[in-house]
């Protein structure tokens, strides 16, 4: 009787710690590129403070990024990005909550490169839209590297581009994500 309880307790313990391993980072890199073919200059910003958490058991993957953290080469562009386009004072954060749909094909304990499909909801500028993209997970030495890129239509997120600069700013923005995740000790 005693042994059964001991076994049950051990199993439960394993269930809580052994299999629900999560990976995270607070210094993920997200590139934002809205350069159009007729842009006089590159419109791209980079944020190196994105938070990302992956739950290897459920395949859940979530991102959060502070809009003010995007750095642009030109200070005026950064000002316009924050003040006029994404309105970072009103909507300070962008979030993505989704799942790796083919999570079962990824073996997190074995080194290798895995192609994954990520599906979820992206919230930016107060608007939420479904996003689906292909990405890559590279498992190496107990760490996970997550890379993906996708396009978002700025009008989907109610980010207006005034007529005067309509030909200088792309209507879609390319988002490139690259995160190096470490095991989360909970």
């Amino acid at each position: 009787m005693k042994n059964i309880f001991l076994l049950a307790a051990t199993l439960l313990f394993l269930a809580t710690t052994g299999f629900t391993q999560k990976f995270y980072t607070k210094s993920g890199k997200i590139d934002f590129d809205a350069t159009s073919a007729s842009s006089p200059e590159k419109i791209e910003g980079v944020n190196r403070t994105a938070t990302c958490v992956v739950d290897t058991k459920t395949g859940a993957i979530q991102f959060a990024v502070l809009m003010k953290g995007f750095a642009f080469e030109r200070a005026l562009m950064e000002e316009h990005f924050n003040e006029n386009y994404v309105e970072s004072h009103k909507f300070p954060k962008a979030e993505f909550k989704g799942t790796i749909t083919n999570n079962e094909t990824v073996n997190y304990s074995k080194d290798g490169t895995y192609s994954v499909t990520v599906k979820g909801k992206l919230t930016m500028h107060g608007e939420t839209k479904d996003v689906e993209t292909q990405g890559k997970l590279v498992i190496q030495g107990g760490k996970v590297n997550a890379n993906a890129s996708f396009n978002v239509l700025l009008s989907d997120f109610k980010i207006a581009i005034p007529g005067l600069v309509a030909d200088k700013v792309s209507k879609t923005a390319k988002i490139i994500v690259s995160c190096s995740l470490e095991p989360l000790k909970s």
């Binding site: 200070a75 000002e79 600069v165």
Partner: protein
């Protein structure tokens, strides 16, 4: 039996713990968030430009940028159609301002009015911010010099170069109260080395009140008033008032306004404003500001 119940309780506890953990999976970000220390963050973009209209604003240029400014003041509106409401006459100032540090900038300019050259340095020891050790206001200091470029009125008398010079010193205390509303107060002292009349004072003290009310994302209503407290000549001179609109279009900021002063540097508009705003002695004017990035920011790749 005692032992059995002990295990039972342990098991139950662990079970609860498991449930608790899986419930948390809903928001994974909470697992890693919440430990961030609150950081000091500077309040940015109190004004679209480092000038309210005529006066310096609490805002600074970004380091590595140059602001090329073309300022126009036309003739008085009350001159009617004869002078096309003043548009037939124009006075201008061309200026180059440079952002050196986040809180330090310098600039030079040349006005057609009195062929005057001017230069200034502006520094903010304290900037409005949020977070620990933050300040509710921006405190900035401006020091400037102007040089009259006109010929000597009387070449026969002994003239000194220093007679062409005037100086101004200004403190700016400003606060961006909300995204839409910014207000600043700026006590100013102007010192003129040479004045026209013996009764005219060399030192003029004024207090400026400037502000911005954002009407939309790219358009703002601005006003800029200076009240001369000490040193106002007995007649013929008035307190300068300008009201206008800031319109931002991509890389340019247009400041369209009505003002009773022609002068476009501190000496000129604080001490030599001859128009009476209430009597329609008002001029249309515009400032065109174009910011160039002359030193690229280090791009993190």
């Amino acid at each position: 039996m005692k032992k059995l119940s002990h295990y039972c309780i342990t098991g139950l506890f662990l079970l609860l713990f498991t449930i608790h953990l899986s419930a948390q999976d809903e928001d994974l970000l909470k697992l890693v968030g919440g430990q961030e220390k609150p950081t000091k963050e500077r309040i940015k973009y109190a004004f679209k430009s480092p000038r309210v209209i005529n006066s310096h604003s609490m805002e600074f240029l970004n380091p590595g940028t140059m602001d090329f400014r073309i300022l126009h003041r036309f003739g008085q509106l009350d001159q009617g159609y004869k002078n096309f409401f003043g548009l037939d006459q124009a006075s201008m100032r061309m200026g180059f301002d440079f952002g050196i540090l986040q809180n330090l900038m310098v600039g030079v300019g040349r006005s057609t009015y009195k062929k005057e050259l001017d230069a200034f340095i502006k520094y903010a020891p304290v900037r409005q911010s949020t977070g620990p050790w933050s300040s509710p206001v921006t405190f900035a200091l401006v020091s400037g010099i102007t040089m009259d470029g006109l010929e000597w009125a009387d070449p026969n008398r002994k003239n000194f170069f220093t007679s062409k010079l005037a100086y101004y010193f200004q403190a700016i205390i400003g606060r961006k109260f909300s995204e839409a509303f910014t207000l600043q107060v700026s006590p100013t002292m102007v010192h003129k080395n040479l004045v026209q009349l013996q009764t005219d004072p060399n030192n003029i003290y004024a207090i400026g009140v400037g502000g911005r009310l954002k009407l939309s994302q790219r358009i703002a209503f601005t006003w800029d008033y200076s009240h001369v407290i000490i040193g106002m000549p007995d007649s013929g001179y008035y307190h300068p008032l300008s009201v206008g609109l800031d319109i931002e279009t991509g890389g340019h900021v247009f400041q369209l306004h009505f003002s009773n002063s022609t002068g476009m540097n501190e000496r000129a508009f604080i001490t030599e404003t001859t128009g009476q705003f209430g009597k329609g002695e008002v001029r249309f004017g515009f400032n065109l500001s174009r910011v160039f990035q002359i030193k690229k920011k280090k791009h993190q790749k």
